[in-house]
Each structure stands twice: as structure tokens, then as C-alpha cells.
Symmetry: C2
Subunit: 364 residues, 2 copies
DNA sequence: GTTTTACTGTAAAACGTTTAACAGGCGCCT
DNA sequence: AGGCGCCTGTTAAACGTTTTACAGTAAAAC
């Protein structure tokens, strides 16, 4: 109380006990008699004592803080992830240090280094490349690490949580094919990002095998505005597709912006399947049909894995793969039904060859 | 190198210097000879040494970490703020601990306490009530604190950064009045939040003085989906307004969702002025007219204030007030022009009595 | 009645830094 | 030549905890 910061010593003095006892009361490491505990808590309350985490961590090696690294804090997908993780961490008494790599490998390096300097109990990262970042090399065995969303397709040396990206692409493509679309454009953010590549492959392979035709792929980047400009440009000098699959929430935005700007309506003449599921997607006259990622479940899976590792689990890395599902709304036109109608065939409005996408995880 | 964690001592040994020298090389507190510094850096490099922030902070009292508390990490406005702050913090060599109060006073208390336990160098908070949170009482003089966005209207004992909420409401109302709207509904998130109250007052006062009529105010809460349901309910049992002012990005979403669900078009029969400026607002056929908050500038102002305080500034608290501006797009119908046209008067399509809203800050 | 055992509390030694106090070397001014 | 600063480096003492080793007491076992 002398200089302003009240320490364990002040509390001990006021309660008339040793500092070890105060420590035991707060850390719960050793049992302490009920009335003594009372005295200590009372003294602490009166002095507004708070254990100093730096000191505590220095001595014990236990940090109760986890680092969270994402590529972009302006992308709702990542902030949703962070939001969920914050809740889970808080529930378990952890704090989170968040850092953004802005999709830059150099920055990722340095952000990771500063995160590691805190000696966190764990790390959840959405890396910006396929490889394990250099800064993490030395830590792989030691520090609990979970990679989320962007994970090397061939499995990894650390625990991972991601969706089935290939399937996500397939679901989108299958839906459009079922609705009779044949001229499908695939809008990706960047093919340099492996999960995006997977989604593209999922969509393209399916389309190719169904239509025997190679679908066009455009890269719109990770910025909504620039992506919109790019896509507008593209639209102005190419034949209009009958449908576009946007493989990212940002590319969805880019796609919609460009179409809006060119006054091209949805779903006629152009249908759209978007990615992710956010409130703005249903806050429009023609609600957006989209591939839903189970973000909450991903966060939970990542957190649970991290918890297990932090609790000492030394089993080989696991790779959780979550299922995506199609949230059907109004942005896809049913060309098939129209064709049938035109040909005055059987009514049978929805010949639905889609398989129901269960949203549960499969652990390898 | 023995147990796995490499310390300053290992580096000192390998470089053949004292630990103080190593410390000086890394902290830069005292100058150290060029070749010695080289030796030290080389040794550190080889051992992959990283200074332990807990130990460093314990001894020096310097944390190089700031706490960031927001009410909701699922609200784009707050995550945008966090995103900007992360960039600024990174630039200046700080890390950020982020916590969400989920708009709950009790949780805010406990989150603040755990943030404070880190002995951060500063704190940027968007509090969930008007008052200075209990947990911060003791820190007000000591710890650099900046409140953002939600600040007590009468000024505060800590530095604050916010927009001119009253004016924001006025700008929205003025725009609608200028466009000939007379039946204006004000959609707020919660009147318990003081900045929202201010925005409501700004809009209502202006409308009242222009029309001599009390506008209706609805509270839609801070969750987009629940707000949409609430608003839908409201719309079903009240006379349809000619325009809606949504005073929050979330209420904007709620408003649009409800209208979309009821198949009510925008801007005819219902015009909408939204809040904030996000990509999804222009990714629609009728782009959304909205009140733009200068988030980047707010973050910068908050950070600069915090930096100054952290550098020892002891002057009385300042209160930055930023200007909002109207981003006009297509969601407001010009009833005035139509009326004129109908009366076959002068063409004069845009009698625009709005004052241009400069977006620069004023410091009190 | 003495020895174990169990239980609680304490003293003191860490933890890995920073920093105050100090020491040695060298140039500079009387 | 001796004294004074300045520069650079070292030693050792913090910082506020946790934790190990130990001591004292009471209950249980012999």
C-alpha cells in the first residue's frame, strides 16, 4: 500500500499470516483452514489486492493466457472465430492475446514471436501459408498448438481443425447443377491459400465430371472492394455466367457488389451461391443461398483440443474435419424446373439429388 | 538449454559476457559496444533466445501490453475498432489482450479484473454502462485509460473518444426530411446505452421541431436476428412508416431483415437510413444510405491518447468528438422531388438543405 | 506413554529479468 | 602526475509470486 501497488506481502501482514498462506488461498494449491482463508480474503478485499500475473507466471510457468493469430481482423469469419474462442477461454479462466498477420508471412513471423515471448499456455492460429511457420518450429513439441481453417491438405504435425473444403465446393456445385445451371463461374479469393484451392477443386471436379466442361475460375483477392472492382472488370469483358459460386464470405461480397453495380439481378439472370452465413445475407430481398461453416463448432473443437494438450495430452496430432451445409435461400434460380415446365412434363418440382449434409465432425 | 527454456544466462555464458550486458543489448537501456553486441546477438540467435516478458515485466513494471475491452466481438463495429487498434499497437510494439463483456456488467467487472491483473500499460474500453466500471475506480489516476464510443454525455473522468451522436441522429433525420419524408420511424438498439439515446434525441428533436410531431421509437436490441423478429412483429401491427432510421449497424440489419421478410421494398414504400459503413451495404441492388462513423480515426485518436498517457501525460482528460457523415446511396426515396414533379413546378431536382459534414475531430 | 501419521502453516529459495551501485580504463584538464 | 569524469561492463539486489522443505500440533496407532 506504500507505493501504490498492493502485494501479497501487504495482505499477509494485514491478515496476520505468512505470504505462503495467502498464495495458497488464491492459487488453491494447498488447502487452508476456513477461518484463516476468511481472514485472508477479507484483508485482500479491503486492500483491493489482485495477484500479479507476471510474477505468478514467472514462478509457476503457468500462464493462463493463449495466443490467437488470424490473418485478418476485418474478416467476419476470423472475428467470429475469435469471438467464440474468447467466450470459451473466459469460461475456462484464460485470457487471449490476439494478433493479426494481415496475410503477410513476415508479419506472421514477428507476431508469433511476440506472442511466444509471453510464454502462453497455448496457441491457436490460422496460418497464412501451408507450412508450419518458421517461428513455431522450435515449439511444436513443447507448446500446445492448434491450427484452424487453413491447414495443409496432407495432414500436419500439429492438431488441426478445418472444414471439408473439397466437399464444400462440391455441395455448392451440386446444388447449382441440380437446379439446371450449366454455365457456372467459380469465384475464389486466392488460389495460393490451400483451403480455397480445395474448395475450387471440389467445385470444378464435380462440374467437370457432370458437364464435361472446365468451369472458369476467377481470383478476387481478400479485400471486398478491390475484389468487386476486379470482378466488375471481368464481367464487362466476358460472357455472363448463369451462376457464380463465391468460395469465401469476402468474395461473396465482391461478387454481389459487382453484380449490383452492373445492375445485374439475382437470381435472374445470374444466380449466386455464397459462403458463410451472416446476418446481412438474409437482410436482403433475395436472401442469399450459401455454404454454411459451423464456426462455433470449429472454435469449440479447436479449444477442446488445445485444452487437452494443455492438460498434458501427448497423443499424436488429430485432424478434425467439420461438415459444411447448404443454407438454401432465394439467390439460385431453378432452371431445371422451368425447363420441365416449358416442356410441359411431369410437375415434380424438386428432383433433389443433393445428399443431406450432416453437420458433425469426423476425427482422424 | 538444459531444461528446454533458454534464459538470459545461457546467452551470457555463450557470448562470454555478463547477463546485464545481454539485458542491455535487448532492452537498449544502456549502450553496449558494437562487437559485444554482435557476439550477444549471435549467441541469442544460435540459442533461439527470446526474452521472457513475464520476467521482464515483473522487474521493470513495463508491460508493453494493453487491454482492449468491448461489449460484443460479434458486432462488426467493435471488431473493426479492435482490428485498427491491433495495427496501431503492433506498430508501436504493443500486444493487445482482448476481452468481451457481452454487454453484461458483471462480466465486464470480472473481465476488467483479469485484464488489470496483467498490469497492462494501458486500457481501451467500450464500457457497457455510462458510469466508470467499479473495477476501474482505483485505477483511474494510475493507469492510462481511454473510453471509446460509449462515453457519458456529460464528460468523464477519463479520456474519451466518440462520435457526435446527437449530430449523427440529426444528419439522418435532416436527410429524410429534406427528401420529403414525414412519417419517420427511429429504430434504436437500446435506450439504456447513452450514445444511442443521444442519437435518438438528435433525430427526434429535429423531426419534432420540423414537423411538430413526435416520431415513434422502437428498441430492437443488440442481436440482429432477435431484432428482426421484434421489428417484424412491430411492422405487422402498426402503420407502415415512410422511412426508418436505424441507429446501429445491428439495428440496420434487423430493419432490413424484417422488411425483406415481409417483402416490403426499399426505398419504395419504405426508405431506410442505416448506420455505419460496411461492404455488405453496397453489395445490394439498392445500396444503403447510411451514417458513416470514422472508425479508423476513432481508433487512432484513442490510441494516440493512450500513448500520450503511457508516455506520462498528466494533463486533464480530453474528450475527442468525431464527426459522422452521410453516405448517400439508393435506399431513400426523394418524395420532395416527386411532389414537385407532380405539381409540375420548377424542375430543380435536388433542393439540398443539408450541411456538408466534415469528418474531422474537435478536441475539448 | 511413545511413536506415527496427517494436517496446516511458515521460512526461504527459486523464477528470469532489470537496474542501482560500483569498478576499471582511458582521456583530459589543471 | 594526480584527480576528475566519462564510458562501458559487472555484480548483486530487487520485482511479486509459487513451491520446496521443514516445523509444529493434534489425532491415531502401537
Amino acid at each position: 500500500m506504500d507505493n501504490g501497488r498492493v502485494t501479497i506481502r501487504d495482505v499477509a501482514a494485514r491478515a496476520g499470516v505468512s505470504i505462503a498462506t495467502v498464495s495458497n488461498v488464491f492459487s488453491g494449491n494447498k488447502p487452508v483452514n476456513a477461518d484463516l482463508r476468511e481472514r485472508v480474503l477479507k484483508a485482500a478485499e479491503e486492500l483491493a489486492y489482485q495477484v500479479d500475473r507476471a510474477a505468478s507466471q514467472l514462478r509457476s510457468g503457468q500462464a493462463r493466457v493463449v495466443g490467437v493469430l488470424v490473418p485478418d481482423l476485418d474478416d467476419v469469419f476470423f472475428t467470429s472465430l475469435v469471438s467464440q474462442l474468447e467466450v470459451l477461454a473466459e469460461r475456462d479462466g484464460y485470457d487471449i492475446l490476439v494478433a493479426s498477420s494481415r496475410d503477410d508471412l513476415g508479419l506472421e513471423q514477428s507476431r508469433l514471436r511476440t506472442l511466444l515471448a509471453w510464454r502462453p499456455s497455448g496457441l491457436i492460429a490460422v496460418p497464412c501459408s501451408d507450412a508450419v511457420p518458421e517461428a513455431l518450429r522450435g515449439e511444436v513439441g513443447r507448446l500446445p498448438i492448434v491450427f484452424a481453417d487453413r491447414v495443409p491438405p496432407e495432414g500436419s504435425i500439429v492438431d488441426t481443425v478445418a472444414i471439408d473444403n473439397r466437399e464444400a465446393g462440391e455441395i455448392a456445385a451440386r446444388h447449382l447443377l441440380a437446379k439446371g445451371h450449366r454455365d457456372i463461374l467459380v469465384a475464389a479469393s486466392s488460389l495460393a491459400i490451400s483451403p480455397i484451392r480445395e474448395r475450387v477443386h471440389g467445385a470444378c471436379d464435380l462440374i467437370r465430371s457432370a458437364l464435361d466442361r472446365e468451369p472458369t475460375v476467377v481470383e478476387l483477392g481478400s479485400n471486398a472492394d478491390r475484389g468487386a472492382a476486379t470482378f466488375r472488370h471481368w464481367l464487362e469483358r466476358h460472357k455472363q455466367p448463369s451462376a457464380v459460386i463465391a468460395l469465401t464470405n469476402v468474395t461473396t461480397l465482391s461478387t454481389l457488389s459487382a453484380l449490383a453495380r452492373l445492375r445485374i439481378d439475382i437470381p435472374d439472370p445470374v444466380s449466386v451461391v455464397g459462403f458463410d452465413d451472416y446476418p446481412w445475407m438474409s437482410a436482403r430481398k433475395t436472401g442469399l443461398t450459401a455454404i454454411r461453416q459451423p464456426i462455433a463448432e470449429m472454435a469449440e473443437a479447436a479449444w477442446n483440443r488445445l485444452r487437452a494438450r494443455m492438460a498434458g495430452d501427448r497423443t499424436p496430432p488429430t485432424h478434425s474435419v467439420m461438415q459444411t451445409s447448404l443454407q438454401a435461400r432465394d439467390s439460385v434460380r431453378d432452371l431445371a424446373a422451368m425447363a420441365e415446365h416449358a416442356g410441359s412434363r411431369d410437375p415434380d418440382p424438386l428432383p433433389n439429388p443433393e445428399r443431406p449434409a450432416a453437420s458433425r465432425k469426423a476425427v482422424h
